[in-house]
Subunit: 201 residues, 2 copies
């Protein structure tokens, strides 16, 4: 029994609405305080229709991570155009920072759950984030003298500074994002030069 693509599109549309509406509500009240009825109400479906898409809120949350957060972070990990080295790492971080401003609700969710009370969410997000730092590590390895500091630790520090900058952008509004990007770039420059990374512009 094959399925009509139009019907499948409808189903996907509602499903996507549920996910986005959950992000919006989670920004206001926190994911853990959300109920299936509240989400369904905001998505304009009957509470019972929720079950056609997810077994419960926990499954929906998992899909937020796998279907939305994961892809965004995978994008962060994709190689920046241009040469490798310190310049690449800074470019990656700045690209991530600006993508945070483009989808603030998703970014807030990632930041909140990465530090939040649900261990499975923390673990899942940590593993998605480790993809980003691994990618940075790869770019760094070529630009670091072998005797110098561990590229892994350098990449970890950069990711941590980058996430903190994302949180600041969300809190202080996009009008400050240029200044925050500049601050992030400077902080990364310190880390890289302190760790002996060459090729920094």
């Amino acid at each position: 029994v094959r399925i009509n693509p139009e019907r499948k599109e409808d189903r996907e549309r509602v499903r996507h609405t549920l996910l986005r509406v959950t992000l919006t509500l989670a920004n206001a009240h926190g994911f853990l305080s959300l109920g299936l009825r509240e989400v369904s109400r905001a998505a304009d479906i009957a509470p019972t229709s929720f079950y056609r898409h997810f077994a419960d809120m926990e499954e929906l949350g998992r899909e937020l991570i796998e279907g939305l957060a994961g892809p965004l972070l995978a994008q962060w990990a994709s190689p920046a155009s241009g040469s490798s080295g310190g310049g690449t790492v800074t470019a990656m971080a700045l690209r991530a920072l600006s993508s945070a401003a483009e989808d603030p609700e998703l970014m807030r969710f990632i930041l909140a759950e990465e530090r939040g009370a649900i261990p499975t969410f923390r673990t899942a997000l940590a593993s998605k984030l480790s993809v980003v730092s691994t990618a940075m590590e790869g770019a760094l390895a070529e630009a670091m003298p072998k005797s110098a500091s561990s590229p892994e630790r350098v990449a970890d520090a950069v990711v941590v500074l980058m996430l903190a900058a994302c949180a600041d952008v969300l809190d202080h509004g996009p009008e400050r994002s240029a200044a925050l990007a500049e601050r992030l770039a400077e902080q990364i420059r310190w880390v890289l030069s302190g760790a002996g990374v060459k090729g920094e512009p």
Copy 2:
């Protein structure tokens, strides 16, 4: 009408129990999902007795920040023994890291709410944390050439790296805390030397 100190102690004991029990439950389910009845149950008082201490959960949360989180962070900001400069900053960060392991539930609460969905909590914690970075800034200012980078940005970077290390200690258990402390110290060393801070051991 003066009040018997014994009675006052009793009252304080229950109040403290409510606060600690809330921290424990918030570690498991998140602060926002907690209800007055759940907290009262865990504290072994009737739900109606809750009102003798707090008007609602939000007031209790505010007291968690003012009465527990604030004092801990103020402690972090108190000057480390010994000379000023980069060494002091590292010592402050490492002291904070170890105090995180001593009260993991409070630390988890701080980390979660600093990035969480309640704007007033985020703001309150940000201002308590700024006390820490201001203290570090003071220690740095003396050890930095005037022409060099801004001490404020350096202190911010150190605080961010320190909080991330605290989160890692909580997630990976105390047995890894020595390695994490060493990593944090190295990352701080990079930042300080990259930013031109002198006096680093």
